[in-house]
């Protein structure tokens, strides 16, 4: 069996392509018997247990993970190691469908999956280990960020200049960035602002429940707390860090300061009955958003629920209640306006710094955008239908509806001309932020500030170095493959009674639990070879190839049209109907992932094309800062393996509709029933 990258016969039909690869066997009757036994066994597994772990080998492609990639799937969660700042390799956890979209669809790589049969106990111990390691790393790298935030904030105090890296989430719904001055208890932002009847009514309910002076007292308490804040005690956290122990959690100085400031802003919004900013909400033009009586009735019920929650929230003990207040107060205003106008009006949920894409960039992708729009429309209609159901409409439904309205409105702009749109960055909850203003400052002396900043600088450096040592990245000995197997070994070591297990003991444990042992000290550190090793050593009961997006669509075309015509049209980037060249890919002419025989010939043409582009890039250097030269160089490097019959580059797809995920079978998200 050959595992070169996607070396599928050109004329293979889709049904064949998706069929699981056969397991080793010689004669036909043996295949028949083993298939029968496998079928019974697989059915048993599906019906009675789901203790299957999916090892995923992701084929190479240009750019991100050009040497291939590997991941481990437990149910709907995919764990994989990625290289990240500051030069470390970190465990990531993704939903299976997001992972599949990123790698199989957008990055156009075929996925090779091997389902490993394990006991319930082994499944739990491996899954728990990966989860714990993921959570541990999340906390550790969050602590590093928090250390930096502490440092940046104190430097701002020292200089008296706010730093745009520190932002107050949610405050941007009611306040502008400008208009704040240091040490100013009130600001121009709220002067001459009209009041919101919704907030005034809410304030009355709060006064009735907690007393007239409640909000002003709470604000005074918050200001006092801010003034008496003390530096974070980082020493202990830094001293105890290791990769096995969930770290000591720290509520850092900067986080406390920002939470308290957000709460001051939030309570001030209610106390002064501030209106939403003009750009904080979206009024969709379409009739689709009109609300029927039944929908209005349910929206009123949800409004009541939201208001009750807000009354509790102003008195909450959770540290970040300010942000929750700002978001839900803003939503309350939007819902009241929706009820009055009988039309769905929602808060803008895009990030304050969401990328804006020029409409001209979308000119090549009209079809994809149309599909995005129609998919969003369908989901929007379905979610809006929840407003007509008797079952209580809840916050997560409202958030989904809000986000879909945001997305639909934004995509609609792209369809009406060359307008700029925000394609990415719509959140499930609003996050509009402002730069943290230095309105209230803790009462520290300059010496104390200087001293704390110096200490923080040392701690940060020390902590970063510790993390780099704990999670070092190395192309061969600490890569996405080696770390997966190292974690598997560590999880198995926990099952061994011996406190200092030797390698033979680990091998024996691995053999008992997984059917064998994969040694990454050998050549198995290469993703494609690790795939062979898993299949040869572990108890793999099923192997599947999930073809890349282009190969999947190509197979569909072969089934619909004449083979030769499809081949000639789709084997190059000029006439391909499936692929359109985009700036993420280097320049190339022939696809070589589905043609083994002619691969070196096509590779030679692609190499020449890359050299040509590089030469042009030399002349263009003064105008494009070397972009074309880099792309040409990358094109040459990607084409060289093709001369040796090895394919790496496959092209990638921009702005692919997400609905491909739900219409594609088999897929990672339904792998247990594949």
């Amino acid at each position: 069996m050959c595992y070169f990258n996607a070396e599928k016969p050109r004329k293979r039909k889709r049904s064949q392509d998706l069929a699981p690869l056969s397991l080793d066997s010689g004669k036909a009757y043996k295949i028949l018997i083993s298939s029968f036994l496998l079928l019974i066994f697989s059915s048993y597994q599906l019906v009675f247990a789901q203790n299957l772990i999916n090892y995923i080998y992701i084929e190479s492609n240009e750019g991100n993970s050009s040497g291939g990639h590997a991941a481990l799937q437990f149910d709907n969660d995919v764990y994989h190691y990625q290289y990240t700042d500051p030069g470390v390799i970190r465990l990531q956890k993704q939903d299976a469908e997001n992972f599949e979209y990123d790698y199989r669809f957008a990055a156009n790589r075929s996925l090779h999956t091997s389902q490993i049969d394990v006991t319930k106990e082994t499944y739990s111990s491996l899954r728990d280990y990966f989860n714990l390691q993921h959570q541990t790393q999340q906390q550790q790298f969050k602590a590093l960020d928090d250390l930096r935030k502490d440092q940046v904030l104190l430097q701002s105090f020292l200089s008296g200049v706010p730093n745009s890296a520190l932002r107050l989430k949610g405050a941007g719904l009611f306040y502008e960035n400008s208009g704040f001055l240091p040490n100013q208890s009130s600001n121009q932002n709220i002067q001459d602002r009209q009041t919101s009847p919704t907030i005034i009514a809410l304030n009355n309910v709060i006064k009735k429940k907690y007393g007239k002076a409640f909000l002003s007292q709470r604000i005074s308490e918050l200001i006092q707390k801010i003034k008496s804040l003390q530096p974070t005690q980082w020493q202990k956290s830094i001293a105890t860090v290791n990769d096995e122990q969930y770290p000591r959690m720290v509520y850092s100085f900067a986080n406390q300061y920002m939470d308290l400031m957000t709460a001051v802003f939030a309570l001030q919004v209610i106390e002064q009955g501030l209106r939403l900013r003009e750009d904080a909400y979206i009024v969709p033009p379409n009739r689709l958003f009109e609300l029927k009586d039944e929908e209005l009735a349910n929206l009123r019920l949800y409004r009541k629920q939201l208001e009750e929650g807000l009354v509790k929230l102003v008195n909450s003990k959770r540290p970040d209640y300010g942000y929750a207040l700002l978001v839900n107060v803003a939503r309350l205003i939007a819902i009241d306006t929706s009820i009055i106008q009988k039309k769905l009006i929602v808060i803008d949920t895009f990030d304050s710094n969401a990328d804006i894409i020029d409409g001209k960039d979308f000119s090549k992708y009209t079809e994809q955008l149309q599909r995005h729009l129609s998919d969003t429309y369908t989901r929007l209609i379905n979610t809006k239908l929840l407003l007509t159901q008797k079952k209580a409409f809840n916050e997560s439904n409202y958030s989904a509806l809000e986000m879909l309205v945001n997305r639909y409105t934004e995509l609609s702009k792209a369809m009406t001309g060359n307008q700029e749109i925000r394609f990415y960055g719509a959140n499930l909850v609003p996050t509009k932020s402002i730069v943290l203003p230095l309105l209230i400052i803790p009462e520290w002396s300059k010496e104390k500030l200087d001293d704390t900043i110096k200490k923080l600088s040392v701690y940060q450096e020390q902590y970063q170095e510790t993390l780099k040592k704990l999670y070092p990245y190395h192309l061969i000995i600490h890569n996405c493959v080696t770390e997966l197997f190292r974690s598997i070994d560590k999880a198995l070591m926990r099952q061994i009674a011996d406190s200092n297990p030797t390698i033979p003991l680990i091998i024996a444990e691995s053999t008992q639990r997984l059917g064998g042992y994969v040694d990454t000290a050998k050549i198995n550190f290469i993703p494609v070879i690790s795939n062979d090793a898993v299949r040869n050593h572990y108890r793999v009961i099923k192997q599947t190839v999930l073809p890349s997006f282009r190969l999947m669509k190509l197979n569909e075309l072969y089934m619909q049209r004449h083979d030769l015509l499809v081949y000639l049209t789709e084997n190059n980037t000029f006439s391909s109907t499936l692929y359109k060249h985009n700036s993420d890919d280097s320049f190339f002419i022939f696809f070589t992932d589905d043609d083994v025989v002619l691969r070196p010939v096509y590779g030679a043409v692609n190499t020449l094309a890359g050299i040509g582009q590089s030469l042009l890039g030399l002349f263009a250097w003064p105008y494009d800062s070397g972009d074309m030269l880099r792309a040409g160089g990358s094109g040459v490097l990607m084409s060289l393996p093709e001369l040796l019959f090895v394919n790496m580059r496959k092209g990638s797809f921009k702005y692919l509709p997400y609905s491909h995920l739900s219409t594609t079978k088999p897929s990672l998200s339904n792998w247990l029933s594949n």
Partner: protein, 140 residues
Amino acid sequence: MFYQKKYIYILTAFSITILLYGCSFSDSSQASSDSISSIVSSPSNSSNKEAKYQEDVLDYTHAYVKSSEADFPSFQKGLADIAATHGIVDWEQDPNTYIAIGRGLKKAKVEGVTYETYKKNFSGSDYGKMEDIQKGYDSE
């Protein structure tokens, strides 16, 4: 023989990629970087969404109680981040939060007085929330 040749090819290709990038690197601009993909691609199934939220809170609680030193405000902040990824801002009003916390405590094998202390702290001594934690604990 064939395998040897194959490995030579692969090694050569791999050496070339060393000049580029070996492993996958974290890219915040990845295509599915926001929550849109899962909302648009999958049906609005409430029970699925609740189950996913519970699983995430359960895993987080499980890890937290194993912490060498527990800091409750930090725990709540982390909880808020998880809830936000599920479209929940006011997680204190969502019973699923407390059911999942109870499940996480059971999974971490927290028992006796320690369990009662956690239950009281997590719920802020609110009777309804304590009941939800117990419900989750018993169900796991």
